[in-house]
């Protein structure tokens, strides 16, 4: 083999080994987390912990999996050893919650370690306070289950009973855990066999050269993408809303600095760790859970980006110790996925100011689980449906309706299968009304409504963030919508849930989940009128909304755009747009939260918000931003200056007057 095909040939071979390992796990594991949500991965990594062989079937987040601390701490490894751990504290945060068990096997060839094989999956239960071990309400790591520090599960090919039992003793599902860990072991052994064959064929020196070349190729590709960005520091803050109403929304702040072909992310200003299971334990490292947004960015900016950790070499990360992104040992961490996704979107918000491949924010999702009584007296738990939000719009594309690109590997459950398995009747599973208007509109959310057919069911809904704060829009596009839940909608007993954790249901109760819709990109007035016509045709909006929100007049029963009338409406409307220099439209709710004014003002604003028709929301948001530009007034009001507060309230009533004057007509454009 010549050097000029070494990298590609070995890249294909390494991927094939990783695929064989991953498919072996997928085939033989027991856990539903493997079969249904693809919560597993496997691969090959260097002695420094860099992943150079990664499966094509695994979500790309784990490209950044970093075993280096464990590799460094296990000094006496022999051929046939396998190390296992689920402990983020002593493994350098190889994993970020206790359910993820990771295994590592040194690959010996002619007596020398050449590289390592690793594999992980999400165990069904690792003990702790609740079945399944994960609850947002857990307040400390101790409540989340047992921890096994890196230890030899196999010594020279022999099972270490003590380590094996450590993963079973306190688990509610010891047999599943054993079976799942066996699946990982089988995958590692398969990977070892293939790797040895490869080393025999090509020799250790050629393989080492191929690994270096592959990682260097990844680095070059990533540097080319970053180097094409305009240098500078880009700042954005997003928020995580947690289940516990006593905990205020937690900011995730990021300053992304593009310097030549390097990218640094500084999360200074992010909120402190909280007494709930949302914390990320990252030990101040450049952890893959912090840079999922960067991985997605690189792979989207250049679809030929290779799947190896070389692409992360240009990236550095700083997280304040004790923050929600770098929690101290002891913090609860089980339900951290919402923070991972929000950090990803915070990065989109920052880097999106330098690149046009990054989308506006997506609507949030609910994973709806149901516990139902069984005829034999037991209960069964099942995922009813992942009610995912609509995707945020892109700079030149609409957001995807009913599909969230952030969890593109999640599959839904056919209604027919659901009704056969569980005592429910699904009333509707369809796109929900409402969308963020923009030159490129946001993806619409989903409505999932069901009725329970027996008494004694319980619903558990996880991962609901963006309940109050909206998914942000970009460059004049409207923000998206929050996710919502109602009990018995349209009846005398209707109830709206701000937060939902566990709800007991009687026979005949109906729950309606509506996921959020994604933010839009660009001003609605700039949307191609033909696209607006198509949206009306496809029932995304009415002809009246087309006029009010997009300034598009349709003729011939929606068949045609009335160009002249459209031009006139749009010209008038453009004249009354309140300019905004903020690239993000975050929604009125967040503006209200961010500004921190006295209660008189915020109450006034709340009243105003209650009156705003959906299609006027961005008018109000911009008008308020305009009002807040009077910085001296705002500062005075914040410290209780009554004159300043009165002046701001006067501004508010002006906005209100403009709002009411414009409502229902095509004049008074924003």
């Amino acid at each position: 083999m010549r050097s000029h095909d070494l990298v590609e040939v070995l890249g294909n071979r390494f991927r094939a080994i990783a695929d064989e390992m991953a498919l072996s796990i997928h085939r033989t594991a027991f856990s539903v987390y493997v079969k249904e949500t693809r919560d597993f991965a496997a691969g090959l990594c260097t002695k420094d912990g860099e992943v150079f062989g990664f499966p094509s079937i695994a979500p790309p987040m784990m490209l950044g999996s970093d075993a280096s601390v464990v590799i460094g701490s296990m000094r006496d490894l022999q051929a046939g050893d396998i190390v296992a751990t689920n402990d983020p504290v002593s493994s350098g945060a190889w994993m970020t919650h206790l359910n993820d068990v990771h295994l590592l096997k040194p690959l010996f060839h002619r007596g020398e370690i050449q590289f390592y094989l690793w594999a992980f999956l999400h165990l069904s239960d690792v003990g702790g306070r609740v079945p399944g071990s994960i609850s947002a309400a857990n307040r400390s790591l101790d409540e989340e289950g047992f921890r096994v520090a890196p230890a030899k599960l196999y010594r020279a090919g022999e099972l270490d009973i003590a380590t094996s039992e450590a993963f079973q003793r306190e688990s509610r599902t010891p047999d599943l855990n054993r079976g799942d860990i066996n699946a990982l072991v089988a995958a590692l052994n398969k990977g070892e066999q293939r790797s040895v064959e490869l080393l025999d064929r090509y020799g250790a020196a050629a393989i080492a050269g191929g690994v270096d070349g592959l990682l260097a190729y990844g680095e070059r590709k990533a540097r080319a993408v970053i180097g094409a960005l305009k240098p500078g520091t880009y700042i954005f803050t997003d928020y995580v809303e947690v289940q516990d109403p006593s905990i205020p929304p937690v900011p995730i702040s990021v300053a992304a600095t593009v310097d030549g072909s390097s990218l640094s992310l500084d999360f200074e200003g992010s909120g402190s760790q909280i007494p709930a299971a949302y914390n990320l334990m990252t030990h101040g490292r450049r952890h893959s859970d912090l840079i999922y947004g960067v991985i997605n960015f690189l792979r989207s900016a250049d679809p030929t980006m290779p799947a190896n950790a070389g692409i992360l070499r240009p990236v550095t990360v700083r997280t304040p110790e004790g923050s929600i992104l770098n929690a101290r040992a002891g913090a609860a961490i089980g339900a951290r996925m919402g923070v991972v996704v929000r950090t990803m979107e915070a990065i989109y918000g920052a880097l999106g100011q330098a690149s046009d491949v990054l989308p506006a924010a997506s609507g949030d999702r609910s994973l709806v689980f149901l516990t139902a009584p069984e005829p034999d007296g037991g209960t069964r738990v099942s995922l009813l449906q992942p009610v995912v939000g609509g995707s945020g719009a892109r700079a030149r594309r609409d957001g995807i309706d009913g599909i969230d690109a952030a969890v593109a590997w999640l599959r839904n459950v056919p209604t027919e299968a659901l009704e056969l398995e569980m005592p429910v009747l699904v009333h509707s599973y369809r796109l929900a009304p409402g969308h963020a208007a923009g030159e490129f509109r946001g993806g619409r959310g989903t409505e999932f409504e069901f009725e329970t057919l027996v008494d004694g069911c319980r619903v558990i809904a996880r991962n609901r963030s963006r309940r109050v704060f909206r998914p942000w829009g970009r460059d004049g596009g409207e923000p998206g919508g929050p996710s919502r839940v109602w009990l018995n909608p349209g009846t005398g007993e209707e109830r709206y849930y701000e937060v939902i954790d566990i709800v007991e249901l009687r026979r005949g109760d109906t729950l309606r989940f509506v996921s959020g819709y994604g933010g839009a990109f660009g001003p609605p007035l700039e949307r191609d009128p033909l696209r607006v016509r198509d949206d009306v045709r496809e029932r995304v909006l009415s002809a009246a909304s087309a006029r009010q929100r997009y300034g598009v007049e349709l003729a011939d029963h929606g068949a045609r755009v009335d160009q002249a009338a459209t031009a006139t409406i749009r010209a008038v409307a453009r004249g009354s747009v309140v300019a905004s220099d903020d690239p993000h439209s975050v929604g009125i709710e967040r503006l209200l939260h961010d500004v921190g004014l006295p209660p008189e003002f915020t109450q006034g604003l709340r009243r105003l918000v209650a009156e705003v028709p959906e299609w006027r929301e961005s008018f109000v948001e911009r008008s308020i931003r305009f009002l807040f530009r009077r910085e001296e007034l705002v500062s005075a009001a914040k410290v209780g200056d009554q004159v300043a507060v009165a002046e701001l309230l006067r501004g508010l009533s002006e906005i209100r007057a403009n709002l009411l004057e414009g409502s229902g007509t095509a004049t008074g454009w924003h």
Partner: protein, 653 residues
């Protein structure tokens, strides 16, 4: 006899007509002597992929109007620029109908036929020219769908209307709705096409049955394919795989991986004691729920372009395709392809290819590599060899992935290669895969066509029953037995309808089983009559152990779906195999040689014509075997024999 023609996309039947004329002229066969006409067509697939089908209206259960948009959510790719697939039926042509059937067949909301008719008329007014109907739970309780179809037939006579359960009665509403929509969408074009071909056959006096190949690897009467055109999707790869299985099996090889290397892609299928089927195949953006030959595809073929990305040599996924094609073909292509690498290395010779379609220009192939050679600082031969190695590694990765998904390794299977580039690359790929044996059929470029004339008629029936068969008492056998009896009745009725006599029919019965609580199932064959539940669950445990590495003899087991495959044996030609022109066993096939480069060494390889090689002929590589539409390259280290079926079978020397 073989004739090969270019397709005529504007009027696809024209190529068929022309082909028949040439075939009869060159062979002297008269229409009356043709016992049957087997035909494979991509009209259905093309209509779907190119989105040139009918305007379809869809009726669904109220509350589920967006099921085509939501699909199963998964969009894959992982790029932030990706989009979900565009639905086959736009939202304005979907109507929710108030009706509700529960999973157990209870009618929660009755269907109002008037409402259905109003909705259908509405859709027609909005431009729909065919209607698909998909209501929840119709896979088992089709009454509401049947009523809706009847109402529309009565109210709008002549409007084509299909219900989802009639196309494929299996649980999963999205996939079933898609099947009904696809059928309605491609229906008019496909049935029009078959009607045109049938009319031509009648006109020229071919009276035998007209058979169409299907995605399940069998054939069906063309009338059946017109009525359910969805069965023709994926028929190309399926037909090739079916022929590959027939040929491999007839030579005694029952565990093979069949690799079809074409111009733009490589199709791979595993034939382990038979053809494998999938109910999760995809055509373009859409799932195909009907059992379809399990073929997976990778974007590397003879036309794949070689290029350099940030210092790394890549092959594909971009392809020069048929136009402009490889640089060596002199049809306007200038960029280097995998085919050009074969030419540079001497695996494909200069001059006219066997079927006369192209002339190969070696100098042009070498020229195409000059830029890459300069960038990489290597010789043209070295770069060409690297291109072949890179392509081999990409094909290896795909074959390995497919084997791994089934718990196998490539080296345990024999390698069967076909397609235009398969025989050229086959032995090189075998070295990657660790294959012990390579099989090259007599007519590697014609396997899809061959599949049409050597396959039996075949169709599948399914019935979702969802009943426990372990952990449920001994009475559990009754619902299984009665469902199978029902399937047998339907299958016999179908055979009667198609005119397949009793003595040519065979039925295979199978069941999808799973442990209670599992979300996936395994299809296991059942004997008929089913002796005991114990046999059935025991077979399942064994299969589960084999497939997933573990089994649980104490867990409750349920039958999800019962399946029946009906085969009708059809008359078929004897495969002639190789037809020696002028040679006897072991005769000297000639002394023409060509300089080749293999593994960095230059050598002279003997060049022979496949038609000169009689069964029993045996030789060692390196050797180049030229034939009608492809070239076989046997490198050194391999010994090959022509077997009785005419297949070239290589083993390591």
């Amino acid at each position: 006899m073989v004739e090969k023609l270019l397709s005529t996309p504007d009027r696809p039947e024209a190529a068929v007509e022309q082909g028949l004329v040439q075939l009869m002229r060159h062979s002297g066969i008269t229409p009356k002597k043709i016992r049957f006409f087997g035909h494979g067509s991509t009209v259905g697939t093309n209509t779907l992929i190119e989105r040139t089908g009918a305007k379809v209206g869809l009726l669904v259960t109220d509350g589920f109007e967006d099921l085509l948009v939501l699909g199963r959510l998964v969009i894959g790719a992982g790029s932030l620029q990706a989009d979900g697939p565009r639905a086959l039926v736009p939202r304005q042509l979907v109507r929710g109908v108030r009706e509700r059937m529960l999973a157990d067949g209870t009618v929660r909301d009755p269907l109002d036929q008037e409402e259905v008719l109003t909705a259908a008329r509405d859709l027609v007014a909005a431009g729909a020219s065919a209607i698909a109907v998909c209501f929840l739970h119709s896979y088992r309780h089709p009454r509401h769908e049947d009523l809706a179809v009847a109402a529309i037939r009565r109210g709008v006579p002549g409007l084509p209307v299909w219900s989802s359960a009639q196309i494929w009665p299996e649980i999963r509403e999205y996939e079933r709705a898609v099947a009904a929509c696809i059928n309605a969408y491609i229906g008019p074009r496909v049935s029009g096409y078959y009607a045109a071909v049938a009319a031509h056959l009648r006109a020229i006096g071919i009276d035998g049955p007209f058979l169409a190949s299907q995605g399940n690897g069998g054939v069906a009467l063309a009338s059946e394919a017109s009525a359910r055109p969805i069965i023709t999707l994926q028929s190309g790869p399926a037909s090739g795989a079916a022929a590959a299985w027939q040929i491999a099996q007839s030579s005694g090889y029952e565990r093979v991986v069949a690799v079809d290397i074409g111009g733009t892609s490589t199709d791979v299928t595993i034939l382990d004691g038979g053809i494998r089927f999938s109910t999760e195949a995809k055509v373009g953006d859409f799932p195909l729920m009907l059992p379809t030959v399990d073929v997976s595809s990778v974007g590397a073929g003879g036309g794949s372009l070689a290029w350099i990305d940030s210092g790394v040599l890549k092959v594909g996924p971009k392809s020069a395709g048929a136009h402009p094609g490889a640089a060596a073909y002199g049809r306007g292509g200038e960029l280097p392809t995998l085919t050009d690498a074969y030419v540079v290395l001497g695996y494909i010779g200069e001059g006219t290819l066997g079927d006369g379609s192209v002339r190969v220009d070696r100098a042009a192939a070498e020229r195409s590599f000059m830029e890459l050679a300069k960038q990489l600082g290597a010789s043209i031969d070295e770069v060409a060899a690297s291109v072949v190695r890179v392509a081999s590694s990409a094909m290896f990765a795909e074959v390995s992935r497919l084997c791994a998904a089934h718990g196998m390794t490539p080296g345990e299977l024999d390698l069967f290669v076909y397609g235009g580039a398969g025989p050229t690359h086959g032995f090189l790929l075998a070295d990657e895969l660790g294959s012990r044996r390579v099989i090259v059929p007599a007519t590697p470029g014609l396997l899809c066509a061959l599949g049409c004339v050597i396959s039996d008629a075949r169709t599948e029936f399914a019935k979702t029953v969802n009943t426990r068969v372990r952990g449920a008492g001994s009475s559990a056998l009754a619902p299984v037995t009665s469902a199978i009896e029902e399937l047998l009745r339907v299958a016999n009725g179908w055979c009667d309808e198609q005119g397949f006599a009793n003595d040519v029919r065979t039925f295979d019965v199978g069941a999808d089983l799973r442990y209670v609580g599992q979300s996936y199932s395994l299809t296991v064959p059942l004997g008929w009559p089913v002796a005991t539940l114990h046999d059935m669950t025991g077979t399942f445990d064994a299969q589960h152990q084999k497939t997933f590495g573990h089994a649980d003899q104490s867990a409750s087991v349920e039958v999800v779906t019962l399946r029946l495959t009906a085969h009708a044996r059809l008359p078929k030609p004897q495969l002639a195999g190789a037809q020696p022109r002028a040679s006897s066993d072991g005769a000297d096939p000639g002394s023409r040689t060509r300089r080749i480069t293999f593994e960095g060494q230059v050598a002279d390889a003997l060049v022979v014509s496949r038609s000169d090689l009689a069964p029993g002929f045996s030789a060692a590589g390196p050797m180049i075997i030229e034939q009608y539409d492809t070239t076989v390259f046997v490198p050194r280290g391999w010994q090959f024999t022509i077997d009785r079926a005419g297949s070239l079978v290589g083993v390591r020397a």
